[in-house]
């Protein structure tokens, strides 16, 4: 499946395609530090089917980032197992999973293009192919004309687009995003949300999206996972049954408010 993969119909409820499936089974995580141990997460289980867009919300410190890092293979769970694309992850596998971080985390010494090429260059992909793929990815995020700019010449939103392009460049079936737009202003955040939806609709990747914004979560996702803190527990899975595309009317409607209210209640409990 190339980045330019055409729009496909929404994934069926029971997909047989395992390539983008994520399965988290009885996962717990305990951080050991000099000052003692922190149980960040306990007994988390859920499954995400290929091509679904799910959000994770929860209070600060409930372990959202930790969970995402474990799915990415950057942190090993203390308990339980995680599979991505049907296979367990013992270490990061960028061909299966792309990650976009909160602060774009671009390399300031590289141009936008080289930042996007970075994952490919680590794997010694041929120069020409590298360049083509980076161009394609930058095009996809709407930054075609900015390939030769350095990060300090880009706005916050543009930097996140580059980070998104970097996450997409190897065309992984799964994309993890940890509060990717938290540092952006409201307007840019809304635009970026639409951008992610557009890309998701074009590429039909599995997206797991961590956010603090309940409206953002409902706006974007098929389903919202709600965590509570200390230790982080999965307390609810809210299916977002709003029709897509989700217009302003839908987002202002009663069903939207109900969903928001339900998630809010679960977070507070």
């Amino acid at each position: 499946m190339g980045l330019k993969a055409v729009v496909s119909s929404p994934s069926p409820a029971f997909s047989t395609d395992e390539s983008g499936a994520v399965e988290v089974t009885n996962v717990g995580h305990v951080y050991e530090t000099a000052s003692g141990t922190t149980e960040a997460l306990t007994d988390i289980s859920f499954r995400v089917e290929t091509g679904r867009f799910i959000s994770i919300v929860g209070p600060s410190g409930c372990g959202k980032s930790s969970l995402l890092m474990m799915i990415a293979g950057l942190v090993q769970p203390t308990r339980g197992t995680i599979t991505a694309g049907g296979r367990p992850l013992v270490q990061p596998d960028p061909t299966r999973i792309g990650v976009v971080f909160q602060d774009a985390s671009l390399y300031p010494w590289l141009t936008a293009r080289s930042n996007v090429e970075f994952p490919l260059s680590l794997r010694h992909v041929d120069h020409k192919i590298r360049r083509e793929r980076a161009e394609e990815a930058l095009d996809l995020v709407g930054l075609a004309g900015f390939a030769d700019k350095h990060p300090h010449e880009l706005s916050g939103g543009m930097k996140q687009r580059v980070a998104l392009a970097r996450g997409l460049v190897q065309d992984p079936p799964i994309l993890l995003m940890d509060e990717p737009f938290a540092a952006l202003d409201e307007q840019t955040r809304l635009t970026m949300g639409d951008e992610v939806l557009r890309i998701w609709e074009r590429t039909r990747k599995t997206i797991i999206f961590v956010t603090h914004g309940l409206s953002e979560a409902i706006h974007l996702s098929d389903e919202v996972l709600v965590l509570t803190s200390r230790p982080g527990k999965l307390v609810d899975r809210v299916s977002v049954d709003l029709p897509r595309p989700r217009s302003f009317e839908v987002m202002g409607g009663r069903r939207f408010e109900e969903l928001r209210e339900r998630i809010w209640q679960r977070i507070r409990s």
């Binding site: 990415a72 950057l74 270490q91 990061p92 596998d93 960028p94 990650v99 971080f101 602060d103 985390s105 390399y107 300031p108 010494w109 970075f118 994952p119 680590l122 794997r123 350095h150 990060p151 300090h152």
Partner: protein, 260 residues
Amino acid sequence: MNTATVRNTGARSIPAPVARAALVAALIAVWQVAPTVGLLDPRLLPPPSVVGPMIVQLFGEAGFRGHLATTLLETLVAFLVSVPVGFIMAILIGENKYASDIFKPLVFFVFSIPKSIFLPLFIFAFGISFHQKVAFGVFSTLFIVMMLSFAAIESVRRDHLVVARSYGATRMQTVLRVYLPGMTPVLLEAIRVSMIFNFTGILLAEMYASREGLGNVIEQWGQGFQLDRLMATIVVIAAIAIVFNETIRALESRCEHWRE
């Protein structure tokens, strides 16, 4: 617009580089005029009109060129030893928490001691020789290199490392593609500052006890009251130091935005 901005623009009616050049020119003019009109004894402060030609004359003397070559060679060797060695030691120490806890405070202790008081010991150990100068130069420089290298290693952003790991970078790739460029701005600063320590150490060792080198001729011409030669040598040394410093600073400013 607030008052600060108003005051700023006022002060900036003359561009800073022009003002700076004017200031330097004025100082040179005072240096020229004061001894010639009898405000200062020209034997105590030979004016630029004497020192300038003297610099040319010195470069014509094989003896002086020899001293210059000796000092530059000592400085270069000491620098090429102390910077890589200090850097590698800093990495070995910085990488390991236990080693950091043991060695870092010690490096800070030794750094705080003025190095010149050890000069006599270096003469006992190495005699008055090329090796002694280089050894003392290395000793003068090593600890500042280590301290600045610690800072350089810490200046590498953790999230940059996580990104590399998430894209499956090997250890070697992480060092070459993330650590090295990530610490380059601080490392250049380290190189620049280390050279100041290094050059000072070598000249000091030469002034204290030696048969050759620029430090040696400064000492001799000072004792022998040959102030024209002394001043000319001072200008040459100052020029060397400034040129090196500014070259590295130019490199630094080219990767200024790497720090963001």
